[in-house]
């Protein structure tokens, strides 16, 4: 290697080619560890005098950290941020995830000093405003679900499921129903449903839904049997096929007669909010995803929050602590105050910042605004379903709730799969829909536009989907298998990534 090459190892001195992949405005951004280690630290402290060093390099030796300057750090993270795709950058129709716009008024309210700069161990008398927010939120959630008992602590949807099923388990335990060991779960359920039931010690009995996409009374009766061993049922309504469970009232009557509780997965509450109260169709316990229905940031943008709401009959068993109001004073339930509770799920009181944002969302929309949320969400999904029905195979007859569902059936005849279509959407600057879920449909494409997308964005999505369908019909298969070409990393090898994952950085 010549001296010239050593001065600049970004260039191959023989071919005069630049070695890295930075082109146009796509930066080939290495990890900070991979940057050249130089003596340009972002801080400049004088060496301590008179005392031996007990920390840092002197005590621990050289641990190989890069010493980078402030402008290098700023560029590193800004460049990484430009590689991110989020709801703030474009259309994000990820089914079952409700990627709606996060209103900035929520952020403004969450940054009010009295909410942002308090500590969970402060005396209750000094955080009355924060407790009032949580108490009001409990009230809104109780009103919207028709379920009066609300626990705000679960930190995400699956955590809420755990809280809900633990509540059911605790109720059966204290009622002496040791013979009730079975949880009924339809095969279209989110995978977290049977996983949660199994974690709580229940056996899973599957209700088949493949024929119609719904739980039918006949299929339910067969799964229920005499009902003696059935502790409960976990159903998402509307379900993961985007359909409302039309027989649910009759099914829940049968379940209740057998002494079982109805857990409703609230993942799809955006289709119902403000329109119907789940308590009215027999739900005993339900979690709500504040980060979906109530617009708090998620998917890399913020923590989740999955409060549970329960019927009066299950109220004694929900996790602690609840926020209570006595006269004009708010307080947290104390340890041991309610001995029937199923336990404590989390340190402190849950994701308080999300509680502020969710309440901000509800207050800014009002009851009438929330009703319009679900109406517009359902309208948008049905618009997509109707617009694409000739280009993509719809496995079930609508009307849909807040999600459109198609399969790869027409495209597969030409050698194009759901995965290829998802990669094609990336080529056209969009986040793909949910793929290969629900499992009851082969090559599923589950599309959730949410109510916050306008007609322009949805029409562009429809146009791109129609273009991809036309390309598939014309047999341009090779192009599909190489999508995306314009994204920074092109087509990834998902099989090798899963079989031989690199989970730890190592020096090249």
């Amino acid at each position: 290697m010549t001296n010239a090459a050593a001065l600049n190892d970004n260039m191959d001195i023989d071919t005069m080619e630049i070695q890295d992949d930075t082109r146009g405005l796509h930066y080939d951004e290495n990890l900070l560890y991979e940057k050249e280690r130089c003596d340009r630290p972002g801080v400049d402290l004088p060496p301590p005098e008179g005392t031996p060093l007990r920390t840092g390099f002197e005590a621990r030796g050289d641990i190989g950290l890069s010493q980078v300057s402030e402008p290098q750090v700023v560029r590193h993270f800004v460049r990484l941020s430009t590689k991110n795709y989020s709801i703030d950058s474009g259309f994000f129709p990820l089914g079952s995830c409700t990627m709606k716009h996060n209103p900035r008024i929520n952020e403004k309210n969450a940054r009010i000093a009295g909410f942002a700069h308090i500590h969970p161990m402060q005396p209750e008398s000094t955080v009355q405003g924060a407790l009032a927010v949580m108490h009001d939120l409990q009230g809104w959630l109780a009103e919207l679900t028709g379920l009066p008992g609300v626990c705000l602590t679960p930190a995400a949807g699956a955590h809420g499921e755990l809280a809900g099923v633990m509540t059911i388990a605790r109720a059966h335990e204290l009622q002496g129903n040791t013979h009730k060991k079975v949880m009924l779960v339809p095969d279209s359920a989110h995978g977290t449903n049977p996983a949660t039931a199994a974690m709580c010690g229940f056996d899973i009995r599957v209700i088949p839904t493949k024929e119609t996409g719904r739980v039918t009374v006949e299929a339910f009766k067969e799964a229920l049997g005499d009902g003696n061993d059935v502790a409960g049922m976990m159903v998402t309504n509307p379900n993961t096929c985007g359909l409302f469970e039309t027989d649910i009232a009759e099914i829940v009557d049968l379940l209740h007669d057998a002494g079982g509780y109805f857990y409703c997965d609230g993942a799809n509450f955006n289709a119902l909010v403000g329109k119907i109260r789940p308590g009215d169709f027999g739900v005993d316990v339900m979690h709500l995803n504040l980060h979906k229905t109530f617009s708090t940031p998620h998917g890399g943008g913020g923590p989740g929050s999955g409060p549970i709401c329960v019927a009066e009959s299950l109220r004694p068993y929900i996790p602690s602590p609840l926020v209570l109001k006595e006269g004009d004073t708010y307080r947290l339930e104390r340890d041991g105050e309610r001995e029937t509770q199923c336990g404590r799920l989390k340190g402190f009181q849950g994701q308080f910042g999300m509680h502020v944002r969710a309440l901000s969302y509800m207050l800014s929309h009002g009851a009438d605004g929330l009703k319009q949320v679900s109406e517009d969400a359902v309208l948008n999904a049905n618009y997509i379903q109707a617009s694409l029905k000739d280009d993509f195979h719809a496995p079930f007859e609508g009307p849909m709730m807040h999600e459109a569902l198609f399969t790869e059936k027409y495209q597969k005849e030409h050698g194009v799969t759901t995965l290829d279509i998802a990669k094609g959407l990336i080529e056209y600057g969009m986040h793909p829909m949910t793929v290969y879920f629900p499992l009851v449909v082969n090559g599923a494409m589950l599309i959730e536009p949410t109510e916050t997308e306008g007609k322009d964005a949805i029409d562009r999505f429809i146009d791109v989907m129609k273009k991809l369908a036309a390309d598939a019909r014309n047999g341009d298969v090779e192009k599909f298998h190489n999508y995306p070409q314009s994204a920074p990393t092109k087509r990834l090898d998902e099989v090798t990534a899963a079989r031989q994952p690199k989970l730890r950085w190592s020096e090249a």
Partner: protein, 124 residues
Amino acid sequence: MSNIKYTEDHEWIKVDGDTAWIGITTYARHALGDLVYIELPETGRQIAKGDDFAVVESVKAASEIYTPVTGEIVEVNDNLQDNMDDLKEDIDTGWIVKVKMTDDSEASALMDKAAYDSFVEGLE
């Protein structure tokens, strides 16, 4: 090939005396896509008809594999762990477990090749 039977959950079984070899069908293999992980059971485990005894994970989803017969797992094809592409409708290399059956009428009640083929056709 008349001693090969099929299930509605897309497993094949080969009956050899009181032993059943169990694997998954070509249809199942295509539906799964590229495999990334397989969880195999321990030898000696008792399984009842309808129990899941193994899990295969693909780039699309994780799926349980169910036994159509009751009995004891007497042999496990550990070779699949490192050679996942061998998991297919191939009697010699694609079997997952061998089960010593307690009731061979369970196996004879399953579909034969022709019945299974028309069952699969009905799914499309």
